[in-house]
């Protein structure tokens, strides 16, 4: 089993580093949510993107994403989210609107999340993107994620650019820690393979650190 894993790992590392468009960096992110009523939450986030490898090893700042989202609980486990993302890059601001439909399942030992998303990028023309993300997490101690306990989270996302007709796939394993009743922190990596339809020519590997704060 271990030799199979090492074989695929070496194959994977060899494959992505042999690509000309390989880059790597860090994605620190803070998400705050504020309950406005039993059914409505206001969620804001800020995420920075810093490269440490892009054709060569060098620390460069890429962009900052700021989002503001209203989350409406439609059923016990279902939510509709509407919001905007403002991307600050090279002294300019890019605008994006988004709509999410989230379904959360709580099983005995696992929690699963399905996110169906639709996004509009406002440029000279409006670019459209559809995305689906599946996330699963479980406590490392007991059946539920209690305070001061670690958990594992794995997510897999598929993003389709309607205008460019291109696919991007993301895979992100994370290790999380519940700091208090309301706050969590997660550390992990995220592998992104883009331009999937034409040829596998854009690979990114991100180190993630996300803080979730519920106010």
């Amino acid at each position: 089993m271990r030799s199979i894993f090492i074989f695929f790992f070496v194959l994977f590392v060899g494959k992505i580093t042999s690509q000309t468009n390989f880059s790597a960096g860090v994605l620190p992110k803070v998400v705050t949510s504020f309950k406005m009523s039993p059914k409505i939450k206001w969620v804001n986030s800020i995420e920075s993107r810093e490269f440490f490898y892009d054709k060569e090893f060098e620390l460069t700042h890429s962009l900052v994403d700021v989002s503001t989202i209203f989350s409406l609980k439609t059923e016990m486990n279902n939510k509709l989210n509407f919001g905007f993302i403002f991307r600050f890059k090279d002294g300019e601001v890019e605008y994006r609107s988004l709509q999410h439909y989230n379904i959360i399942h709580s099983l005995e030992q696992f929690q699963m999340g399905h996110r169906f998303a639709f996004e509009q990028f406002y440029d000279d023309v409006i670019n459209l993107r559809g995305r689906y993300r599946f996330t699963i997490q479980r406590a490392l101690n007991g059946d539920k994620i209690d305070v001061f306990e670690w958990y594992l989270k794995l997510s897999n996302e598929y993003l389709w650019q309607f205008n460019d007709e291109n696919l991007e796939i993301r895979l992100a394993p994370n290790l999380g820690y519940r700091l208090s009743k309301r706050n969590k922190i997660e550390f992990g990596v995220e592998y992104r393979a883009a331009d999937f339809v034409r040829e596998l020519n854009k690979n990114q590997l991100w180190m993630r650190c996300t803080m979730y704060i519920s106010l």
């Binding site: 996330t135 007991g142 059946d143 539920k144």
Partner: protein, 187 residues
């Protein structure tokens, strides 16, 4: 005025106590009271037994979880290691038809719509071991309680509840689950 304050405090207390609170953490067998470990030996479980400490509105307890005859067993002990109850996870359609009907009828009285997420037979009291053996050999569970996890609609809102029902169908305990914050699965 004092009466209003008292009524408000009482209402707040009773409302908050209707929520299910539970914190569970893994334990090594050495951390469990010896009487609980000895009690468990009577069952001669072949599968691995996992021990947990549990803090809930009922106080601190110890819980052993394992599988027996392809069914999930949870055995709960008090802080001194005395057995409190044994819960065995079963499917609703494995119950006798009259019991299935009784549960359905009782839940329909409480909820306009519902879905049973989990059902456990809860054995407690005297002659626990022999009653469980009778259940395993003859399928007789007539002396047990039914512990249900139900997603039910009251008014316009659907919520998750833990319900304890006796063998006559009377609801003896109803606790609402607090929905976990799922921000990290959504954003």
């Amino acid at each position: 005025m004092k009466l209003v304050v008292l009524i408000s405090l009482f209402t707040c207390f009773t409302m908050s106590s209707q929520y299910k609170y539970e914190r569970e953490f893994r334990l090594n067998v050495e951390e469990v009271p010896i009487s609980a470990v000895q009690f468990l030996k009577q069952f001669q479980f072949k599968k691995k037994v996992k021990w947990y400490g549990e803090e809930s509105q009922d106080g601190k307890t110890f819980e052993a979880k394992t599988y027996y005859n392809a069914k999930k067993y949870s055995l709960e002990f008090d802080a001194k290691g005395k057995i409190l109850d044994v819960e065995i996870k079963v499917r609703v359609n494995s119950l006798n038809k009259p019991d299935q009907e009784m549960i359905k009828k009782e839940l329909q009285k409480v909820f306009s719509k519902y879905k049973i997420k989990k059902l456990q037979l809860q054995f407690s009291g005297k002659e626990l071991l022999s009653r469980i053996k009778t259940f395993e050999t003859k399928g007789n569970y007539s002396t047990c309680f039914f512990e249900l996890v139900v997603s039910g609609k009251i008014g316009k809102e659907r919520k998750l509840f833990e319900i304890l029902m006796n063998s006559k169908g009377e609801i003896v305990k109803k606790l609402e689950f607090k929905i976990l914050n799922s921000d990290n699965l959504e954003f």
